[in-house]
Amino acid sequence: MSQAQKILDALGGSGNVVEIEPCITRLRCEVSDASAVDEAGLKAAGAMGVLRSGTVVQVVVGPNADTIAEDIEDLR
């Protein structure tokens, strides 16, 4: 499974993701249901860190964030 697919799954799947915006080292993800986010799954998919604030989840993935975000958009 691709890293993008693993991250999307750990965010609770395509249906749970409202928006993903890449910053240079992180994906800023807005989700519908924050409780459906699998933090351990995100780390297993290569996230260096996960920061949560309500329905906004920041997944720190390093400087390839924009490429990973494009790959995730392709899966949605």
Binding site: I24, L51, G62, P63
Partner: protein
């Protein structure tokens, strides 16, 4: 061969832990130092010799020899400004030398938007504690050494 990382902007050097953003403050993407720039339009210089690996209006990564990447982030949450007040002077993929202007930005506009204009300079994919010669907090001129990468 060790690599000296120089200040991309002038201002006041501060510890990464003092940056008002948890990802930078906790060194999640890597250790480094930050510089609080002065008022007005500020040029951001390449901190090392290398290739511009990533270039956004508000941030860039220069990849130096040995695969060592240095991230320069202009202000906090500035991705949300969508490039307003930022002007690129090089292109992604360009070779740059340390001290070469990469972009210029309006630090006043960043602050007027309620954001911090602080500039984290991050050694990517490096363990915390791997940096040496870390500059003490205080005034710094653009191009002066900030820290040394192994």
């Amino acid at each position: 061969m060790s690599l000296v990382v120089t200040a991309p902007v002038p201002g006041t050097a501060l510890a990464m832990a003092d940056v008002p953003d948890p990802v930078f403050a906790q060194s999640i993407v890597g250790p480094g130092l930050a510089v609080e720039p002065p008022a007005g339009t500020v040029q951001a210089l390449a901190p090392v010799d290398g290739t511009v690996l990533k270039l956004h209006p508000h941030a860039f990564v220069v990849l130096a020899g040995g695969g060592r990447g240095v991230l320069v982030h202009l202000g906090i949450d500035t991705v949300q400004m969508a490039g307003e007040g930022f002007e690129l002077l090089v292109a992604e993929g360009d070779a740059v030398v340390a001290g070469q202007p990469v972009l210029r930005f309006d630090a006043d506009a960043v602050r007027a938007s309620g954001r911090s204009a602080v500039v984290p300079v991050v050694a990517l994919d490096v363990p915390v504690g791997a940096l040496t010669d870390l500059r003490a907090p205080g005034p710094v001129a653009a191009g002066e050494p900030l820290f040394t990468l192994p």
